[in-house]
C-alpha cells in the first residue's frame, strides 16, 4: 500500500480582524478550521461545498499561496526523499515548514488552475510566454527550447502551436482554461489543484474542459484536487470527494458512496439539489432555512446544527420530529435575530381579527397551539411573550434551557462507514467516539 502523495492534517487558516491604530485583534474569521485529507498518486479528489465554505482558502493554504495558521501538509512527491517524522514532531516533508528554496522546488510539483479565465492571464503577455515563464523562472534559459516545449503542450490541450503568439483577449473562456491547464502542466507536476475550473463556462464547454482534464490525468498520471460548488462536476471526474461546510469537512468517501448513500444531512441536501434534466421528474430538494452562518462566529458543537433537518432532540424530550424541528428553528431564528417584531405588530394593528403577534409567530414557525409536554408548552409561550415584550435575549435563554440539542454541545468526531467513507454527525456516533465537547 503506497503512501499518499499528499497528506493534509488539521489544516487551519484564520484571518484576524483588527481594529484601531495598533491593529488590535478583535476577532478571527475561521475560514478553514482543521481539515484532513489524503490524496494518492493518480487519484482525483473533489472538495465540494457552497460559496463561502472555505474551499478556495483551503486550496490556497495547501500550496502556501496564503500562510496556514496551523496544521501540516506532508508532500511525498517530486524528488523528495521519503522521510520519517522527527523527534520534535515536525516532519521534513511538511510544506508549511519549507524554506524558500524548498518552497521553490515544491512549486514544480504542485500547480493550480484558477476559476476566472478572464483574469488568469496577464493581458500584456502573449499566452505562450505566460506558459513558458514558469520554465524560465526555474532555470531554463534557452528561449528556443522553451518555445518548443510550450508549443507542444499547446497542441496537447487542443490548441495550435501558432496560438503561442496570441494575447489572452483573443481567446474564448474555454480556450483560456485550456491554456491555464497547459500552464499548470508545464513544469510536470505531480499534483494539480483546480479551483472551480469550469464554473465560469457554458455547460457545453464545461464538458469539453472536464474531459480534457480527465484525459491528461490518465496520460500523465497526475493527482488532482478539484474544487467545485457543483456536485455534478465532481461526480463527473472525481474518485473521492470531501464535503465542506463552514470551514470543516463533514463527510468524505468515494464519489459513489457519498452520492448514492450520503450519511451527513448536509451532504443529503447538496445531493438533492443536483438538477435532474428530466422535465417529468419534479425535484425533491431539501431546502435549508436561514443562511450560512458567518465564519467569524461559527455555531458551537456541530456547525450545521442551526440548519440541520435531522438535528437531534435532547433526551428529555419526546416530540415528533416535525414539531421538534419547528421549535428548534424558532429558537434559531430568535438567536440569529431574524424576527422582526415591529413588522408583526404593524400587521397585527392593520388586521381586524385576532391576528395577534403571538398567533403570527406560531403560524410562521409552524408551532402548534397545544403541546402534550407541559414544560415545552410553557417554554414556548414564555418565549413568545418575551419576544412581544421586546426581549429576544430572554426568549432565547428560556428556549435554550429546554431545547438544547446535543448537536450544539458536542462537535462530532468522524464515524467510519467502511471503505474510507466517513462522516461527522452525532447520528452515527456510537458511545465510543462521542466527539469532543465544546467549551
Amino acid at each position: 500500500m503506497t503512501e499518499p502523495l499528499l497528506s493534509v492534517r488539521d489544516l487551519t487558516k484564520y484571518y484576524s480582524r483588527t481594529e484601531g491604530l495598533l491593529n488590535r485583534e478583535v476577532g478571527r474569521v475561521k475560514a478553514v478550521d482543521g481539515i484532513s485529507l489524503d490524496v494518492s498518486p493518480g487519484e482525483t479528489v473533489g472538495i465540494v461545498g457552497e460559496s463561502g465554505c472555505g474551499k478556495s482558502t483551503a486550496a490556497g493554504a495547501i500550496v502556501r499561496l496564503e500562510e496556514p495558521t496551523a496544521g501540516e501538509v506532508i508532500f511525498r512527491g517530486g524528488s523528495r526523499q521519503p522521510a520519517e517524522r522527527r523527534e520534535d514532531g515536525s516532519h521534513p516533508n511538511d510544506v508549511t515548514t519549507f524554506d524558500r528554496s524548498e518552497l521553490k522546488r515544491f512549486r514544480r510539483n504542485v500547480q493550480m488552475i484558477f476559476q476566472d479565465p478572464a483574469s488568469s492571464f496577464n493581458p500584456r503577455q502573449r499566452v505562450g510566454d505566460a506558459v513558458g515563464e514558469l520554465l524560465a523562472v526555474h532555470g531554463m534559459g534557452d528561449r528556443q527550447q522553451r518555445r518548443q516545449i510550450v508549443e507542444d503542450l499547446l497542441t496537447r490541450v487542443g490548441l495550435s502551436a501558432a496560438d503561442y503568439d496570441r494575447y489572452p483577449h483573443e481567446f474564448s473562456g474555454g480556450e483560456k482554461q485550456r491554456i491555464a491547464i497547459a500552464r499548470a502542466l508545464v513544469l510536470n507536476p505531480d499534483l494539480i489543484i483546480a479551483d472551480e475550473p469550469v464554473s465560469a463556462l457554458d455547460v457545453s464547454v464545461q464538458a469539453e474542459v472536464l474531459s480534457l482534464i480527465d484525459d491528461l490525468q490518465q496520460a500523465f498520471g497526475l493527482s488532482i484536487i478539484l474544487i467545485s460548488h457543483d456536485m455534478s462536476v465532481v461526480n463527473a471526474i472525481c474518485d473521492r470527494v470531501a464535503v465542506m461546510y463552514l470551514g470543516e469537512f463533514v463527510e468524505t468517501g468515494t464519489v459513489d458512496a457519498v452520492f448514492t448513500d450520503p450519511q451527513h444531512p448536509y451532504t443529503e441536501t447538496l445531493v438533492s439539489a443536483i438538477p435532474t434534466p428530466d422535465p417529468t421528474v419534479s425535484r425533491q430538494q431539501i431546502t435549508l432555512p436561514g443562511t450560512v452562518p458567518s465564519p467569524a462566529d461559527p455555531p458551537s458543537g456541530c456547525r450545521f446544527h442551526t440548519r440541520c433537518p435531522k438535528v437531534i432532540q435532547p433526551d428529555e424530550l419526546d416530540l415528533d420530529h416535525e414539531t421538534w424541528l419547528a421549535v428548534h428553528r424558532f429558537r434559531q431564528a430568535i438567536v440569529a435575530g431574524s424576527i422582526d417584531i415591529d413588522d408583526l405588530r404593524d400587521t397585527a394593528a392593520q388586521q381586524s381579527d385576532e391576528w395577534s403577534v403571538a398567533a403570527q409567530l406560531r403560524e410562521s414557525f409552524d408551532l402548534p397551539a397545544q403541546f402534550d409536554d407541559e414544560t415545552v408548552a410553557t417554554a414556548v409561550t414564555t418565549a413568545i411573550t418575551h419576544l412581544v415584550d421586546d426581549s429576544p435575549e430572554k426568549a432565547a435563554a428560556v428556549l435554550a434551557e429546554v431545547f438544547q440539542t446535543p448537536c450544539e454541545a458536542t462537535a462530532p468526531a468522524f464515524t467510519d462507514h467502511g471503505d474510507g467513507h466517513q462522516s461527522a454527525c452525532l447520528l452515527h456516533t456510537t458511545d465510543g467516539n462521542a466527539g469532543r465537547t465544546d467549551e
Binding site: D202, Q206, V209, I339
Partner: protein, 359 residues
C-alpha cells in the same frame, strides 16, 4: 429556397386583434444588426417566437448565440446606433418598435420587467436596497413614502428575504449572491409585470441557491400569472422550469417545442449535442467541438453545419433550412427532416443514451 426575411417557422397563431387570443409577447422576424468596424454583425437573424400569459418559455443556446441580444431587443435596450432592430414585436397587440421613448419607458419596468445575470452590476452600490426599490416604484406610481416602504418590504418578503423589514436599509454588498438575485426579482416585480425577461439569472449562483431562485420564480408565476422568457445555456435549468423551449444557435432558431418534445424527442443535432453534454444524458464525451461562425460573415445554409456530424451538401447551400413541423408546436430546422431525407440518421446516432422512442 424561401427568402430569409419571411421566416414562416413560427407556430401559427391567428393574428387576432382581440386581447384574449393574441399572445402576451409576439416576436416575428426579429433581426438585430450591429455596425462594427469589421462589417455588419447580425446577432439575431430572423427569429420568431411567442410567450403566453402564465407560461415559461426558455431561450437556450451557447454564449454568442444571440439570446441576450434578442431579449434586450424586445424592449429596445440595445443602443440604436450601433444596433438596428427590425421585425414585428408585439406586446398584448401593441407594436413595441413603434412606441416613442416615453411610452416605452412606461412599459419597461412596469408591464415588462428585466432581470439580468449579474446582480452586482445591476444594483447601485451607493444606495440601500430599500431606497432602490422605492425609487423603482415611484417611477411608475404615485405613492407616499410609508406606502412605498410597506410595499417594498412586502416584496422583499415575497421573494424570500428573511427579516425583510430590517434588511430594507441594508446596502447591496451586505447581501449574498443569491440574496442579491432575489432583490433583483423584487425590483422586477415592483410594477407588477405581465412579462418577465430573465437573462441567465441563476448562472452565477451556486447550484443550491439556483434551485431556490427557480422556486421563487415558479411561485410568483403561479400567483400572478405572468409570462416568463428565461434565457439560459443550461438544459438542466430548462428541464425544471420550461413549458416551451426555443433553441438558438448563431442568431437563428434550430428547434422549438414543448419541453417534453425537446427532451424526449430531441431532433436537431445541436439540441442533441447540448443534451449530450449533461452527465445524465451522455456523459462527458467532450462537449461540442468547434466554435460559433463569424457573425459578420455567416455561412450559407445551416449555421450549425460546420460542427454537425450529419452535415451533407444541402446543409451548406442557400439559407437556414425551412423549419418542419414534427408535431403540434414542435418544429425543427434541419434538412434531415425534410422530404427526401431520413430523420433516423439523426435520431439514431447514439449521442443520447437515454430517450423514449418517438411516435
Amino acid at each position: 429556397m424561401s427568402s430569409s426575411n419571411t421566416s414562416p417557422d413560427e407556430p401559427s397563431t391567428a393574428d387576432d386583434r382581440s386581447e384574449d387570443d393574441s399572445p402576451l409577447l409576439s416576436v416575428r422576424d426579429l433581426t438585430t444588426t450591429f455596425a462594427t468596424e469589421n462589417g455588419a454583425r447580425r446577432a439575431v437573424d430572423g427569429v420568431s417566437f411567442t410567450v403566453d400569459a402564465g407560461e415559461t418559455v426558455c431561450l437556450v443556446g451557447e454564449s454568442g448565440s444571440g439570446k441576450t441580444v434578442a431579449t434586450e431587443s424586445i424592449t429596445r435596450l440595445i443602443d440604436q446606433p450601433p444596433g438596428t432592430i427590425r421585425g414585428d414585436l408585439r406586446f398584448n397587440g401593441t407594436d413595441l418598435l413603434a412606441l416613442s421613448q416615453p411610452e416605452l419607458r412606461s412599459i419597461r419596468g412596469a408591464e415588462i420587467a428585466h432581470i439580468f445575470q449579474n446582480p452586482q452590476e445591476s444594483m447601485n452600490p451607493c444606495y440601500t436596497v430599500g431606497w432602490q426599490l422605492v425609487e423603482a416604484m415611484q417611477v411608475h406610481e404615485e405613492l407616499s413614502e410609508p406606502q412605498a416602504r410597506r410595499r417594498a418590504v412586502e416584496l422583499l418578503d415575497r421573494v424570500g428575504i428573511d427579516s425583510a423589514s430590517s434588511r430594507f436599509s441594508d446596502y447591496p454588498h451586505e447581501f449574498s449572491g443569491g440574496q442579491k438575485q432575489r432583490v433583483m426579482i423584487a425590483m422586477a416585480l415592483v410594477g407588477s409585470p405581465q412579462l418577465l425577461l430573465a437573462d441567465e439569472p441563476t448562472t452565477a449562483l451556486d447550484v443550491t441557491v439556483q434551485a431556490q431562485i427557480l422556486d421563487v420564480l415558479a411561485e410568483l408565476q403561479a400567483e400572478t400569472g405572468m409570462g416568463i422568457l428565461f434565457v439560459t445555456h443550461d438544459l438542466g435549468v430548462v428541464a425544471e422550469i420550461a413549458d416551451r423551449v426555443v433553441v438558438m444557435y448563431a442568431g437563428k432558431i434550430m428547434e422549438r417545442g414543448s419541453v417534453e418534445d425537446v427532451f424526449r424527442r430531441p431532433s436537431h443535432p445541436y439540441t442533441r449535442a447540448l443534451l449530450a453534454c449533461l452527465p445524465a444524458y451522455g456523459g462527458t464525451d467532450g462537449g461540442i467541438p468547434g466554435s460559433l461562425p463569424d457573425p459578420t460573415e455567416p455561412p450559407d445554409g445551416c449555421r450549425f453545419a460546420d460542427r454537425c456530424e450529419h452535415a451533407v451538401s444541402a446543409c451548406r447551400t442557400g439559407d437556414q433550412p425551412q423549419a418542419v413541423d414534427l408535431s403540434d408546436g414542435h418544429r425543427v430546422s434541419c434538412v434531415h427532416y425534410q422530404s427526401g431525407y431520413d430523420p433516423q440518421t439523426v435520431r439514431e446516432d447514439g449521442t443520447i443514451q437515454r430517450e423514449e422512442t418517438d411516435d
